[in-house]
């Protein structure tokens, strides 16, 4: 019933609008204004140009100013400070151009609106002027390109040898992380054909590689403040993309083609909590490449520790092999002892579980 009343109401409204439109058209015909090339609407449109410009700029500057803290993310990495700086320099440069060109556009619209008997200025070209506005943008852009290139080559330069290596793997629909372990500090090999979710080998860790024995795979990501971190990034099903918003880190995770990103975090979780005054705050890692149904829910908690806390945390982690003792059986007999030592498995413990 309610629906029908709404439908009738809408219909009536449309009829009224149509009638108004018809009346307007007929009035125009009677007045003869429909034959004129330019009607009074021209003035209205000219005025609206200015109104729109003033209103639009007002709205933009108001929001940009008042809500500045809301739409800007605090930065927590060294290269992030650099890219943020580039961002704001570019904003300043383009902002000036944005305002000037839009002001001219709407102002000209208003100022040079049609006047009876007036003529436009026959002004087909001016080589000097055109050269000017080719060369000036070219120079400005060169400066921006140059600074950008420098930053880019710094960011993508090779990681130092003592960088903290962490493996991140994306899968539908979560992230998994693997650390090289405290004994050898080397990530073990992997092979996607060894992946077995049911048995617990979601990374496809190759247990014939001794380096894998002390690797550990915690449920949240930790990295130290003030030390270079090298993320080794991969995916095992479809494309994903590692995004650490506060650290300004983004790199796609590609099945079959591992990628990497090195950075240096300069604010710990506690630092950030203090900075924004939110004791509950946590960093996180999320996905920015469409990957299916759960794309929006791929969130991993990230903790940035002070270096000593980080070492402590690492030492407390149980190795993957220890948590998945089934795989100990598959290790060749001559390496099993080594594996137990590196994985931190006591013989008694093992017997207890068997």
């Amino acid at each position: 019933m309610f629906g029908i009343i709404i439908a009738i109401g809408v219909l009536l409204l449309l009829v009224i609008l149509y009638t108004l439109f018809r009346i307007g058209t007929l009035v125009n015909v009677v007045k003869g204004t429909d034959k004129k090339i330019v009607s009074t609407s021209n003035k209205v449109n000219g005025a609206l140009m200015m109104l729109f410009m003033i209103g639009g700029f007002g709205f933009m500057f108001w929001y940009s100013w008042v809500y500045f803290d809301k739409y800007t993310l605090p930065v927590a990495s060294e290269h992030g400070e650099l890219t943020d700086q580039l961002f704001w320099v570019t904003t300043a440069v383009t902002g000036v151009v944005f305002v000037i060109t839009n002001v001219l556009l709407f102002y000209f619209g208003w100022k040079y609106q049609y006047k009876e008997g007036a003529r436009g200025k026959f002004y087909p070209d001016n080589v000097k002027l055109e050269l000017l506005w080719t060369v000036v943008p070219a120079i400005v852009l060169s400066v921006l390109v140059f600074t950008g290139l420098q930053a880019w080559s710094d960011i993508t330069s090779k990681a130092s040898d003592d960088a903290e290596v962490i493996e991140v793997m994306g899968y539908q629909f979560a992230w998994a992380v693997r650390y090289p372990g405290v004994k050898d500090n080397q990530l073990g090999n992997y092979d996607y054909k060894l992946i077995d979710d049911i048995k617990g080998n979601q990374f496809g860790i190759d247990i014939t590689d001794e380096n894998s024995y002390d690797d550990f795979t915690p449920l949240e990501m930790h990295f130290p403040k003030g030390k270079e971190v090298l993320l080794k990034i991969r995916a095992r099903d479809v494309l994903h993309s590692v995004f650490l918003p506060y650290q300004r880190v983004k790199m796609d995770a590609v099945p079959g083609q591992p990628t990497h990103f090195k950075f240096l975090a300069n604010k710990s979780t506690q630092d950030m909590r203090d900075e924004i005054g939110d004791p509950e705050f946590d960093y996180f890692l999320t996905c920015t490449e469409i990957c299916g149904r759960g794309h929006f829910s791929m969130k991993l908690k990230v903790v940035v520790d002070e270096p000593e806390d980080y070492e402590k945390w690492k030492a407390e982690q149980q190795t993957w092999l220890k948590l998945n003792p089934d795989y100990l059986e598959e290790i060749p007999a001559e390496k099993r002892e080594l594996a137990k030592i590196k994985a931190g498995i006591e013989n008694t413990e093992l017997e207890a579980t068997l």
Partner: protein, 625 residues
Amino acid sequence: MATADIHISEETHSDGHHEHDHEHSTNFWTHYVFTTDHKMIAKQFLISGIFWALLGGILSVIFRLQLGFPEAQLGWLKPFLGDWITAEGKIDPEFYLALVTMHGTIMVFFVLTAGLSGTFSNFLIPLQIGARDMASGFMNMLSYWFFFASSVIMFTSLFIETGPASGGWVIYPPLSALPQAVNGSGLGMTLWLTSMALFIVSTLLGGINYITTVINLRTNGMSFSKLPLTIWAFFLTAIIGLLSFPVLFSAALLLIFDRSFGTSFYLSDIYINGEALPNQGGSPILFQHLFWFLGHPEVYIVLLPALGITSEIIATNSRKPIFGYKAMVGSMLFIAILSFIVWAHHMFVTGMNPFLGSVFMLLTLIIAVPSAVKVFNYLATLWKGNIRFTPGMLFSIGLVSFFISGGLTGIFLGNSAIDIQLHDTYFVVAHFHLVMGSASFFGLMAGVYHWFPKMYGRMMDAKLGYIHFWLTFVGVYLVFFPLHYIGIAGYPRRYYSFTNFDALNSFSDLNMLVSIAAILTLAAQFIFLFNFFYSIWRGRKAPANPWQSNTLEWTTPINPGHGNWPGEIPTVYRWPYDYSKPGAEEDFIPQHIPYSETPESNLDHENELIKLEGASDKAIIVDEK
């Protein structure tokens, strides 16, 4: 201005014998359906484009409902969307992805490529260069019907049980290759690929025709240096399309092989649904390179025609010559060339070689220079004009504003260092919706309002046009400008919901504003639809040259038949931008008026040309060689 080599030829008007005074005997099928008349084919593309635009718009409003009102009960959509609305009255997350995917595909290809180029290249090329029709009317007809078949298949894919393609309009594999990764990659993706293959055939058939027609069928005197900028734009667009669409075709073909025949072009090392796939050695990044080799030129395929249309409309309605005609042509040419060597700026963070990133960053920022030149030239054209705000003119000015606003954010994204943070966030969404989506859409609208009188012999209602413009203009800015802020805050694209994110959960007010603006903007388009269809039958009869324009199409009869001009095609003597020429009686001198008839306004070098204007039956041939 013109440096072309002009000589007098004995050759008489080659089309002189071709009398078109009488209409061909036609019936409904040959006139409206399987027509070879470029004007009717243009209308077919336009009406199809309008249909798709409406559908694409509605899809976007559905996902804006989800983003703006994540708590809302959408059970009332169940009669239309069925199981895509979950039992709790929410949009299914996979359907959300399908919506974004189809919205993108439809808008980029079916509206802004076919609807824009298909309509105006077809309609204006023969009319503005002075030709009876396209070089091949039959190929032109095929072009439309391939597009139609492609449309039918794409439309069908919306209704299948597993849903349409849902891996984003860029259909990156492995997601698009593996039905087990997302439902839409099953039959939906197959239909998507089939549809796109047909679409590419349509585009190529059309493009070859546009190029051939512009090169071969220009009327006497219509040298390249006298071509309206619209034609330059359509010509270059067709060339870009001809060179880039085949690459998309090959990308799609390899994807079809990977999907159906067990090859591994794009697939490697995949473990999905508890199973390790045998594919090894493929590269998903290869697909991205192939895709963006079309994908980036595609941006200019949709944008250049809009810029061409705008150039024409702004000059006409400012009553001024377009400022820097040569610079306008030059910058379009430069953009067309550069558009082929900037594609990898979409891939800065895919892990490709950082050095490659540097190269593409450099090239990308170079392309901003010709774009800037175009903007300044538009402004210089408006300066000291005598501006008539027709609806077409308003939409053109709107386009310039979007082109500025959206173009400037390209300088952020083209900078690989800044792109690290902004890549795949709402900042990108804001950027390309303004510079490519809305700007091209406004070009389309400007063109429809401006050439409607030539298409249907009637005028559209101007006041409704003004209302439509202002609602849409304000609406589009309200939709896309706030997205910049959301992007700067790091919100990723293609997220079904942000409620999972504590830190990223502070823009519900802005998202709501955007969604409301999107709904109102869509609603405003119904004003246009009414105006359009009402005016086809009931609009005021159009005068011969309603905008007092210089180009050739306005020398045809009000309702031109097949063949466009009864009798001879007019000869062209001057460039199309002689507006407000000092000394001239009127403030416009059409292209077919010889200099000998306008001694009062001729410039010195133009008086020289009078001698060449065959006083006899000799025609001027402009030799471009």
